[in-house]
């Protein structure tokens, strides 16, 4: 039987209250939301917080809001809400692509985007999504709010720049015209972590050339999480299969996968190459088609869940 070690539990009723509780209980206090990463770690004694601060009642952090050229997503937004949101799928189809492959429907009912990003698992999909979308993260602490770019969120595996007395409150995705995106993942079975996955966001110029592009790879040890040489090779070029192949080749060269039970290093490099080609192809097709939402057939709702 796996039971966490003893701890004290308290519910926050606002972000300010949660911050106050974090300050009060010090370094052995942890915030819990969906709990689908933290509770398993506590069962295995990989995490041993003395205080759990439950933020599930903070409905102010559970929202998907279009705000001019930014989509603002509250940190407590559940995976299922991201999956079902038409606003998200319309602007950023890669989010729905990724969400259909994250864990399973029951875990998605509980898990949150803020928890996923703050867990900083190198095989986690939404981190790659946020790198690809060049997300900005809003972090609140005792001295107010600060905003950091996604590339500064993760200091390393399971370590973030969110300080112990701070809370990630919002994820901001910039909305760009003539842009679309795609994400695809190879997993051994439903609910598994990625063997490898890739995401891309592409902005097309009026002249039919690739104006801007971001490519992210999951679980293959890519330094900085974006394939910069592949991106450089694509900018200013006209889309073609040869170009996608070159981008894939560079991505496979630049990643640094580790052999494990999910596959050999060579297999993962092959996946980095092939999946890079696929997401580029799909993202560019989607720009051409007017950014049609991904994941056809999934019941869609833009309503935030409580």
């Amino acid at each position: 039987m796996q039971i966490p070690a003893a701890f004290d539990y308290v519910r926050a009723d606002s972000v300010d209250h949660a911050l106050q509780l974090l300050a009060e209980h010090g370094p052995e206090a942890r915030v819990i939301a969906g709990g689908h990463s933290l509770l398993p770690m506590m069962k295995l004694r990989l995490a041993n917080p003395e205080w759990l601060i439950d933020i599930n009642d903070l409905s102010e952090l559970d929202h998907i809001t279009e705000d001019g050229d930014t989509l603002r997503v509250g940190a407590l937004t559940r995976h299922v809400s991201l999956l079902e949101s038409d606003a998200v799928a319309g602007h950023f189809p890669l989010v729905r692509d990724a969400e259909t492959t994250i864990a399973d429907p029951l875990v998605r009912n509980r898990g949150t985007i803020g928890g996923s990003l703050c867990q900083a698992d190198p095989a986690e999909d939404l981190s790659t999504v946020c790198h690809v979308l060049r997300a900005e993260l809003v972090i609140r602490g005792p001295n107010g709010e600060r905003t950091v770019p996604m590339r500064e969120l993760h200091r390393g595996p399971y370590e973030t720049s969110v300080e112990q007395n701070e809370i990630l409150t919002e994820i901001r995705w910039p909305i760009r015209p003539r842009s679309s995106s795609a994400y695809t993942k190879v997993e051994r079975r439903v609910g598994d972590w990625a063997t490898a996955a890739a995401g891309a966001s592409v902005t097309m110029g009026a002249d039919g050339q690739i104006e801007d592009v971001t490519i992210g790879l999951t679980a293959v040890g890519l330094d900085g999480s974006t394939a910069t040489r592949s991106q450089d090779a694509l900018r200013g070029q006209r889309p073609s299969e040869e170009l996608y192949a070159e981008a894939g080749r560079l991505a496979a060269e630049d990643c640094n996968p580790v052999a494990d039970q999910r596959g050999t290093e060579a297999y993962k490099r092959h996946l980095a190459d092939e999946l890079t080609r696929r997401v580029l192809r799909t993202a560019i097709e989607r720009v051409t088609a007017g950014a049609s939402p991904a994941g056809q057939g999934i019941t869609a709702s833009a309503e935030p869940r409580s």
């Binding site: 039987m1 509770l39 609910g191």
Partner: protein, 171 residues
Amino acid sequence: MQITMTVNGDSVSREVEARVLLVHFLRDVLSLTGTHWGCDTSNCGLCTVLMDGVPVKSCTVLAVMASGHDIRTVEGLAAGGTLDPVQQGFMEEHGLQCGFCTPGMMLTARALLDKNPNPSEDVIREAISGQICRCTGYATIVRSIRWAAAHPAGASKAEDTAAEDPAEASA
């Protein structure tokens, strides 16, 4: 600490340790052993219950986190001695072999049908994809849920034998 929640329509209050998981609270404190306990790692889905109508894995929810919420377990599916159509469907279409995954499967099915009364086979398979039937009886589980969708008011055994086989109507 003191927690209060609604379980199958009844308000319950108990004193529990913060580290008690919802699955153990239901089974060991409330003696509702219909909620099964399997892998402990939120993989198998045996411990699925509905929290505010939404299926969750109760091995990965603390009982204290469920305080103030509405919990429904397999014991709360039948109403007034009448089986839920989902339970009836699992009988009609032989949706269980060993029965260990069945409570969780039925609760997910109930939540799915409440949201989408006529789901396709693909939608059903996606909905139950977080739950494992180690007898591999997925085909009959899917048929059972389709039976329930085709019979939203259920059907009694007497009606079944008098009328044509409802299983055929849903096939």
